[in-house]
């Protein structure tokens, strides 16, 4: 999977899960202020990403640092790269 494919998969999965428009899914948007997610949504976000990429991330401290959609892209790309080595 290329980086762009990973980004597209994330955007589509989150847009479907949280009823967002794909046009809104820009890397620099805040998932809280711009996309309207809140702390109650982060659990679902993790489940959606785990389902889309078949990995486990719920115990990872880095998840708590995520603020923008770009942070999610980078985090997932890093995770996939590390797992493929």
């Amino acid at each position: 999977m290329t980086e762009q494919e990973v980004i597209n998969t994330i955007n589509i999965a989150l847009a479907e899960e949280f009823e967002l428009e794909l046009d809104e899914m820009q890397p620099d948007v805040s998932i809280y202020e711009d996309l309207g997610l809140d702390s109650l949504d982060t659990v679902d976000m993790v489940i959606v990403l785990e389902g889309a990429f078949k990995f486990k991330i719920r115990e990872e401290a880095e998840v708590k640092e995520i603020r923008t959609l770009g942070d999610i892209h980078s985090f997932v790309i890093k995770k996939i790269t590390a797992e493929s080595k």
Partner: protein, 261 residues
Amino acid sequence: MPVISSTHIVIMNLWVYGLLALWTLLGVGLSPLASGYLRLRYRWSTDRIVRHLIWLYGRGWLLLISPFIDFKRDGLGDEEVPDGCVFVINHLSFFDTYFMGALPHSDVTFAVRSWPFKMFWYRFFMRMANYLEVEEQGWQQTTEQGIQILNKGGSVLFFPEGHRSRDGQLQRFYSGAFQLAVASGRPIVPLCISGTGVLLPPGRKSLHPASVRLRILPPVSVESFQHEGGHLQLRKQVKGLMAQTLAEMSSSAESALVKGR
């Protein structure tokens, strides 16, 4: 829409808010006596007693609004609503909670965000009733406490949208209610309410006459959702059912209005 005079609205507001204040004072005043009776009669715990008193308060609300609000409950009958279930309901108005007095069971624990707990006149009773403050606790603790409530035969009620709808349309659903249902194995019972957005929508303080309908849908079993991410599929299915039912209710209300002209 039928024309309603401003005099009618003024009388309604004086009547409902006035009687609601009296009913509240009477309820608070009589609650120690009622608690003592319920404790002796049924040996209920304090939180169970307070939930019952809140339910009775809701019953009183239904009575005092009856001259101005045409309220009907349909769907499942009293005997068909299971004990120990997870209720989910759409949210249109501050007064939606008051209409839960129309539910057949009084042992209903509300799972709500933090803002209702910030109103001091509610907070005391909400704490006494062991209501769940989901924003403060998070889903994990809410699920653990919810399972304990369900195991004792009580039900838990969620507003899965989290906020009142501003346009009457169903909003995005949070997943807590569905996580609890899947984790506990208890059914979801969807409730659809309409008309309270006319009675008192967000941002308005004066009440308006309305036809309010509360429909109790058949329980949705969680058996086929017991897998990773199953609660998200359950959420989607229940939201679809509710959206379809609300559309039917809206269409029936419009037909009734046309016939009444």
